[in-house]
């Protein structure tokens, strides 16, 4: 087999892609990148740890996607090392982003794991928890909706909030699913609750 199977990236952490993307606009030192990431609230879309950033930049350097450019220092503060994008880095940035947009990947949301094991709970308990979840989902939707509307009203182009629209779309679908699931369990005609309860008894003495 000579297939290529989306060969593993040298740096896997998505924070690396964010770093490459910011470096397209010119060389920077890690702390400044960190500040920009916080300012633009990229932490909502990409998991961000202050410590991880330095690790990731090192990894990018080892992989040849960025190079140490200069080391400055102000007063007696720690040195700041400025990194610049290499040609390989520019290529990687483009290629990686293309792949992320193009290929939906199999992921493992925690709720999927929960659903695959939910039979272990008693149906009454499950319904109670699902109702609670529904509330939280509604709260989250409302928060994001308000934030997005506010930001757009302040003049920001919606393109820069499209990831939040996506999140909202998923949250809405999630709510609809959860409502439907509750109904399927509790429906007085053909609800799953009785069969589920019997199954549950057999499992758990």
């Amino acid at each position: 087999m000579t297939e290529k199977k989306t060969k593993k990236r040298k740096v896997g952490n998505l924070l690396g892609l964010a770093v490459l993307s910011y470096l397209v606009q010119g060389p920077q030192h890690p702390y400044e990148l960190s500040r920009m990431l916080r300012e633009n609230e990229d932490g909502r879309s990409i998991k961000f740890n202050h410590g991880s950033l330095y690790m990731v930049v090192q990894q990018l350097a080892k992989a040849g996607f960025v190079t140490e450019q200069e080391t400055t220092r102000e007063g007696r503060r720690p040195e700041r090392t400025v990194y610049a994008l290499t040609d390989a880095g520019r290529k990687e940035q483009h290629d990686w982003l293309r792949e992320l947009v193009e290929e939906p990947e199999h992921e493992y949301p925690r709720f999927v794991a929960a659903l695959s094991l939910i039979g272990a709970l008693h149906p009454d308990e499950a319904v109670e928890l699902l109702r609670h979840r529904l509330e939280r989902l509604r709260e989250q939707s409302a928060e994001i909706r308000a934030m997005v509307d506010g930001t757009v009203a302040a003049g920001v182009h919606p393109l820069f909030l499209v990831e939040e629209e996506y999140r909202l779309a998923l949250l809405t679908a999630d709510q609809a699913f959860t409502e439907r699931f509750i109904t399927q369990i509790t429906d007085p005609e053909n609800g799953w609750a009785p069969a589920w309860a019997r199954f549950h008894e057999r499992q758990d003495p």
Copy 2:
């Protein structure tokens, strides 16, 4: 502040929850757990690596959720260590599962990261990639739909496939979002493409 903040679990890997859940039905050795997980296709819902399983079981043992029960051996095969659930383990299983069902957590799907950086692509390129993505999403939905319908037709209760229904609900919402996004970009009246293209030029010399 005396708040508790959903105190970190001693074992974080969701594979650990799956192990605890299977051990409720009686003591087992890791390899058998591994086999059961594969057989029930839990790997679709919970990331599963053969090697990780042994690590996770060790972690569960260190945390006091399972105990080594006996060590048997057949012929000259490696020993099999049988593990049993402790009371703490039973409690952890229930508590953890409850939390997963009850509290939707902030997650980081890869496509959210992609969307947050998609401005770095030229709009024409983005549209081409999104169309490709849409195709893949449709294929995935069709596959899962067929699999679910087949399994239910074979007599399995839909409760045991509810995680796949959830996945389908999200995939459907994802498709609708992607279609809408493509339209928003390409719409001949008020499409984002022109403004996006100008923004893109300014960024990328």
